[in-house]
């Protein structure tokens, strides 16, 4: 197979990227040289655009890839030449992204992930390539996979799931996306603060202070509602037309409105299944089903888990089984922790909250006393954690753990062979109360995830440890 360049559209994308990257620099430059004529500004702008185009062209020219019989090779870099060689049978997940503007050109962006530990970036990235070539790549990957397990391949999916519109709607409504959004607004304000002259900002604020309180309150409520609307729309667009398919030993998810996103992951790479419910969704009997993979091609928004079903009614867990055959048939009965243990969790949460509360109360009188409001929240967190902490052995090969962190309940379903190590931990004080923590280590993305069941009765912890060793 011959060496190929990316689709020409990639060139435009690279130029655009360069311009974005230099935008802040440009603004600073213009800010620095205030006393310039118009033609001088134009000249600077011209030079910047010219450089952006030239570097993009060079980068484009040096970026090549080859699809061989056994592997894909990607060459990139100008000064530091890089050659990435990925054998098809090592590919763990394949992610395809198509922004709406790429659709008319029939091109896609591809990320290729292996189990190697390469940091947050995918091992292989092809920003813009033709759909025809993507299909070739997919075909090679599947044929190499089938060689290994000699199963007959069929192009028909074995199971298929579509998101329920009503469920998606409730999911978006109950998402707490408003908080990240406020953080985002804060960040934006900081950026503006740096870029826009202080004089303008001062003017805006002095005007604002002249207006009455009612206006300010209604404005902030308006911003809040607007923020919620935005976060609602973001979620709807992200999971628009979500679809999950099982093809032989692969899971394929498709989703997205503005950016159509397809992720292919192989079933036998799954480390664990996580069912997540925030307290609100718990009340509405809704849950999100995610998969922990040994590669990080999945979404950053979801702690790098692959979202299998963004939202599903708790009554419809049987819909997961066609995709993951080893899931339990019925709801397991968890071994819950004792009253004493629950009390210890509340004590810990309060003790942790007490540090900032005391500091606030001492250094910021009298408003610092408001910090006391943290204490009931801490009690709530402790109660919630205690209520949801639990563990159960489902079969000689399957374990399930439940925990509640920050008013979010996670239920983990973990095959024994995916638990990398298990630790029992017990302090001297816990010896008296016959309690112990149990820790499980899992592979998660490029690193590890620790799952901890706290304050278990020591006999239970010991029996689980023995279950693991057997």
């Amino acid at each position: 197979m011959t060496v190929k360049h990316l689709h020409p559209l990639a060139l435009i994308q690279m130029i655009w990227q360069n311009l974005i990257n230099t935008l802040i620099l440009t603004l600073i430059m213009i800010g620095l040289f205030k006393e310039l004529d118009q033609w001088q500004y134009q000249a600077i702008l011209g030079i910047i655009i010219f450089l952006a185009i030239i570097t993009a062209v060079i980068k484009y020219w040096w970026f090549t890839y080859e699809l061989d019989e056994q592997a894909i090779t990607i060459h990139s870099g100008i000064i530091f030449r890089q050659q990435i060689h990925i054998p098809y049978n090592r590919i763990q997940t394949l992610q395809l992204k198509q922004w709406f503007y790429m659709k008319p050109f029939n091109v896609l962006a591809v990320s290729i992930e292996t189990a190697g530990q390469s940091g947050s970036e995918a091992e292989g990235q092809l920003p813009v390539i033709a759909k025809r070539i993507v299909e070739q790549l997919q075909q090679r990957v599947t044929s190499h996979r089938n060689e290994q397990d000699t199963s007959t391949s069929s192009n028909k999916p074995n199971a298929i799931y579509h998101i329920d519109w009503a469920d998606l709607n409730t999911y978006a409504l109950t998402s707490l996306g408003i908080i990240p959004l406020l953080v985002g607004l804060g960040w934006l304000y900081n950026q503006l603060d740096d870029m826009i002259p202080q004089k303008w900002l001062d003017q805006v604020f002095s005007q604002a202070s002249r207006l009455n309180l009612i206006f300010i309150i209604s404005a902030s409520i308006g911003i809040l509602i607007f923020g919620m609307l935005i976060s609602y729309l973001i979620i709807i667009q992200r999971y628009f037309h979500f679809q999950l398919e099982k093809r032989d030993d692969q899971l394929v998810t498709e989703k997205g409105f503005f950016q159509h996103n397809t992720i292919t992951a192989s079933l036998n790479r799954i480390q664990a299944i996580v069912i997540q419910q925030t307290i609100i969704r718990q009340w509405l009997k809704l849950a999100s089903v995610q998969v922990i993979l040994a590669s990080s091609a999945a979404d950053k928004e979801d702690q790098n888990n692959l979202v299998m079903m963004p939202v599903i009614s708790q009554h419809h867990y049987d819909q997961i089984r066609p995709f993951i055959p080893w899931l339990p048939l019925s709801d397991p009965t968890y071994i819950r922790i004792s009253q004493k243990a629950k009390w210890l969790l509340i004590r810990n949460a309060v003790a942790l909250a007490a540090i900032p509360v005391v500091a606030l109360a001492i250094f910021f009188r009298p408003w610092g006393w408001l910090g006391l409001l943290l204490l009931p929240i801490a009690v709530g967190l402790g109660l919630y954690a205690g209520h949801n902490m639990g563990v159960a052995v489902l079969s000689p090969q399957l374990l399930t753990v439940q925990d509640g962190h920050l008013f979010k309940r996670s239920t983990y379903l973990i095959p024994k062979r995916r638990v990398q190590a298990m630790t029992i931990s017990q302090s001297v004080w816990m010896k008296r109360t016959h309690l112990a923590h149990l820790r499980l280590q899992l592979r998660h993305g490029d690193s590890s995830q620790q799952i901890e069941v706290r304050y278990l009765p020591v006999q239970v912890a010991q029996s689980l440890y023995e279950w693991y060793q057997s």
Partner: protein
């Protein structure tokens, strides 16, 4: 567990040495801070606090050596490696042999001088360390773990 193997007794010398090293480092920094007090009129509080901290650190480190040694145990069976440590904060970890991805032997200057080695056992998720073993034990251990790992059903990533 309490039935596993203890670390070689020489490790106590190593720990004493490393406490000595902490002392030397602390002393050098304290001397530096004293110099700043002399020449740049920094507050003498800095070096006093640092000196106290150094002494405390070294004393605690030394005092804990018998305790650390007493409760450190490891055991290698056909199925797994078990590591146990601590009394006040007791921890017992099991690493099944077929989860082990690789085994590394390493030794810093102090360990080399005492002819000891640290064994790092890596799984797909975490790294576990057996603080120190005699070189013959280390080689034997590596051999044992690698043979067992080869026999065990391979883990497929």
């Amino acid at each position: 567990m309490e039935k596993g193997q203890a670390l070689p007794a020489k490790i106590k010398t190593v720990w004493r040495m490393s406490a000595g090293c902490s002392f030397v480092v602390g002393a050098v920094i304290t001397a530096g801070l004293m110099a700043t007090t002399k020449w740049w009129q920094w507050s003498p509080k800095f070096w006093l606090i640092f000196a106290v901290l150094t002494v405390l650190d070294v004393v605690i480190e030394l005092a804990l050596i018998p305790y650390r040694y007493r409760f450190w145990r490891y055991q290698i069976s056909a199925q797994d490696v078990e590591i146990e440590s601590g009394f006040f904060f007791h921890q017992q970890t099991a690493i099944p042999i077929n989860r082990i991805q690789n085994v590394t032997l390493e030794a810093g200057p102090i360990l080399q001088w005492q002819q000891l080695q640290t064994v790092s056992i890596e799984t797909a998720a975490t790294t576990h360390k057996i603080k120190s073993v005699l070189p013959e034990t280390a080689a034997q251990l590596k051999q044992q773990i690698m043979t067992l790992a080869l026999e065990a059903t391979p883990y497929d990533g």
